[in-house]
Amino acid sequence: MPNKKTQQSSRSAGALLADLIDLSLVLDSDQEVDLEERKRRDRAAGRRLECWRNKPVAQVRAWLHESRPKAAGNYGQQGVRVYHGLNVGLLVAGLLSGWGLASAVLYYDGQQPINIVNAVAVLVLPQILLLLLWLVAALPARLSLFRQLGTGLGFLNPGRLAGHLVGVFTSKPEQGLAMLWQSDNAPILGPATRWLLSLWSQLFAVSFNIGVLVSALFLVSFSDLAFAWSTTLVVTSETFHQLLVTLSAPWSSLLPDAVPGAELVAQSRYYRLDEGALADPAATPELAIALGQWWPFLIAAVAFYGLLPRLLTLTISWYRLRHHLGRALCKLPGAPELLARMNSPLVSTAAAEPEHAFTLAPGSAARNSAAAHYALRCPVIDWSAAGSAAGDAGDVSSALAAMGVEPLEFLRAGGRQTLEQDQQMLAALARDKPAALALLVKAWEPPMLDLLDFLRDIRQQLGEEKPLLVLLWGGAEQVSGADRETWQLTLGQLGDPNLHVESLALASRAVEKKGASQ
């Protein structure tokens, strides 16, 4: 069963980011571990974490929490600290910007009223425009036009600026939050990076709107603001009122007092030349109170067109970031393999124990005559019917003749002969006391202990001094170098100085060549 700590893995973006950074490092260093070892280790972990088999993100994180103590450094936590620091920085920057801008727009020194058209143009309309831009950026990048627009406008994003800051002031970009901006990681981390930038820009926007609202409320509470509206364009009060009603539609039913009335609009019109109703000294006390009543509209406009949509986009960005961080966790190089190792049965076909192989001592090869031509008249023993295998007796005879070996007689041993028959044959041979002996063997068959026993018996019966010629017969083919080497190496183990290994077919060809050259 998973432990308590694992069960409580936070789903916050920060915790996911920390895990992403750490997992990337752990998987990278894991490449050094032997694959078989990884298979065993991860399958065991997979069985312990069986309950999350269908939740790869949770399973990978649980695996990481088990492995993390082994990983050097604490880059995940460091990365999260940078992330949180940037969050706070953007929050403060947004608050100050919002406060500053609202203070500038709502500046009133008693000389000229605040033009509500200006206020809306600065505090509300850009918000709507920027919100549309966010929508463009948030759209899937499949639409070419939107993609180009998004890329083109990307550098205006305060979140992207924060991303650049991470890169500039990080000493090891591959080991911290900056890994998100590394081009090699783009295919896997790109979507998460995109939503992290979005999260940061929305955080800035939310705090900016809060700054605007706090500043506006502060000015409304602690100073006497007078609003009016003025435009060079030919717009009647009715038309302007209608425009404001339309603009107030989102909150008209919820906050009817925040919808400017037709009377207020008419009263608030301001002309620079005649100064409008504001110039009438008799109406000033009531009008001054009325002109101050624009603030609910302005606050509502900022809240409904600025703060609330930004809270929504912030939430969306946060969820999308979490989603893509989770996805990235399972797509990091090595992570799909890790999941496969955890969730697939461990299939093994290899040996359980190391091999105990026998090796020949070096430099023990039997001698191979350089001349490859003898003047011998001796009996030839045909071992395991080598002479009749894949050829005919005529071939063997001519090959022997080419080598200068004249068979006195052909004897049989090995194969279907019994051991007793072999011994009887050798005993009879010993009585004849031949000057030398040739043994015809199949070159393609390995020299087995059965044959080595027979060679020792020959020495026992005939003595150590007599030349013993082991003739390799290739049958229908030439004797291969590998076969010849095998025979030389194996017979070399006998340590017999009078034992020679020759390749029959090769000797025959050599004689032919010699004849041709003459």
Binding site: A141, A186, A351, G415, L489
Partner: protein
């Protein structure tokens, strides 16, 4: 039900170890031309999460079969006694160095293992095999004969006739060339020698088939990741202050091009290493040529400033800043300036950004330069490059997948005429769509690697003939 066990027996040097190595995918099996390399039994259990489904036992080859058979013939008076006589032979000669090989190889058979008798079908049959085949017949255990084709000649028909007299089932199997399907067919054939082994072997085959599918998925993913990295890769170098003028441009280019080529070669090598590891072929020696660049001119040079912005982006940012400053003037003038403030501010901001870009580039903050000159190589825009890289990767994967673990030679990837032919134009179009996205820098789609991997995996299954 007992776990199926199979003793691989036969003459020395006839490919027993090759067959075991191929079936067990184990490169640690000693394969040597010198007879008697295998001196002890070695077990290769096929396990699934620790559960043994079957077991192969590599044994030493017969060394004194005639002598052993003569002993047995001398101690058995009837056919009924033969298995017991073989058992008695092993019991009495255990520890006798003369019959060490025979005792080792017969022990698991007498304990119930099936016999897999291996001969070399590329060499002629001989009477020296008869004694060992007779001994195996005496054990009374279920058996199957495998004709292993080690060389080019073919004596399989002759062998089949001879083996048919001793073994009920005779199969031809090339341990060096057998692909996965042939290995699976052979395992299923093992099930034919005893009815009760059929089910566990079928179960084992299912696990091995699933494992093979997993390997393909993993290999496809590794190749997809390599392609994405190769296509989008860019080698950059920021020039130090003064270096831009001091260094000949061509010199810098050559260095950067070398670095870029090395990067691509490393990516390919890394991918090949991973694919080989997936198929248990780690540390494989390869004969390979480096991937060739297909683009003539991959260079670009630009000024970067402040947080990686290009000069163009800096101008846009400057213009925006100027417009914002001008906007405040417009606000102060209550619109009477007719947005002239914004317009002029944007112009002034843009122009000053253009003029000061180089100066900003020379400033350092906390040891970090705010800008400079940068040269870059890549990414590769040539439309044929991804196909070249993909073709090489597919060819390599196929060679690795088909390669048996008995094959100890180097892997020749770029042999004469080696090339990958795509199965059809529709597949090529699908690849082209993905490659086009990568070339356009649309690599930020989370599912792009997955889609590419799926498409590559389909190529594994389609298996068109390579041009080799």
């Amino acid at each position: 039900m007992s776990t199926p066990e199979f003793a691989i027996v036969g003459h020395p040097n006839k490919g027993k170890s090759s067959i075991v190595s191929t079936l067990s995918e184990d490169k640690s099996v000693a394969i040597s031309m010198v007879p008697g390399t295998t001196v002890d039994n070695r077990r290769y259990p096929m396990t699934v999460d620790g559960e043994v489904l079957y077991e192969l036992i590599d044994t030493p080859g017969f060394q004194r079969a005639r002598a052993a058979l003569e002993w047995m013939q001398g101690h058995a008076s009837s056919a009924v006694e033969r298995p017991a006589t073989v058992q008695r032979f092993v019991d009495e000669h255990r520890g006798d160095p003369r019959f060490s090989a025979e005792c080792h190889l017969l022990a698991p058979i007498l304990a119930g293992a099936g016999i897999l008798y291996v001969v070399d079908g590329s060499r002629p049959f001989g009477e020296d095999y008869e004694a060992e085949m007779e001994i195996l017949r005496w054990t009374g255990q279920p058996s199957l004969a495998l004709i292993n084709m080690i060389g080019d000649s073919d004596y399989s028909a002759e062998w089949s006739r001879a083996l048919g007299q001793y073994f009920r089932i005779v199969r031809v199997f090339d341990a060096l060339q057998a692909d996965f399907d042939k290995r699976i067919q052979l395992l299923l054939a093992f099930g034919e020698i005893r009815e009760e082994w059929r089910a566990p072997l079928a179960k084992a085959v299912q696990f091995l088939t699933d494992e093979q599918q997993r390997r393909r998925s993993l290999a496809a993913r590794v190749i997809a990741e390599m392609l994405v990295h190769m296509i989008t890769h860019q080698a950059r170098r920021r020039l130090a202050t003064g270096e831009a003028e001091a260094l000949a441009e061509t010199q810098t280019r050559d260095k950067l091009l070398d670095s870029y080529k090395q990067d691509l070669a490393t990516m390919e090598r890394h991918c090949r290493d991973e694919v080989e590891q997936i198929y248990n072929h780690g540390q494989l020696q390869r004969q390979e040529a480096q991937v060739q660049l297909l683009d003539e001119d991959l260079f670009s040079r630009q000024t970067w400033v402040l947080f990686g912005l290009t000069r163009r982006q800096l101008i846009a940012t400057g213009a925006l800043g100027g417009a914002a400053a001008g906007g405040i003037i417009d606000l102060a003038a209550h619109g009477t300036s007719l947005l002239l403030g914004s317009g002029l501010g944007a112009l002034a901001g843009g122009v000053s950004a253009w003029l000061t870009a180089d100066r900003i580039a020379n400033i350092e903050v906390l040891g970090h330069p705010l800008g400079g000159q940068e040269v870059s190589v890549g990414p590769m825009r040539n439309i044929n490059f991804p196909y070249v890289a993909l073709g090489r990767a597919l060819l390599h994967q196929r060679l690795v997948e088909q390669r048996t673990h008995a094959n100890r030679g180097p892997l020749d990837i770029d042999g004469p005429g080696a090339a990958w032919q795509f199965s059809d134009s529709a597949t090529r179009r699908q690849f082209e769509k993905l490659f086009a996205k990568l070339r356009k820098g649309e690599s930020l789609q989370a599912d792009l690697v997955d889609t590419l991997a799926t498409l590559i995996e389909k190529q594994f299954s389609s298996r068109p003939d390579a041009g080799a």
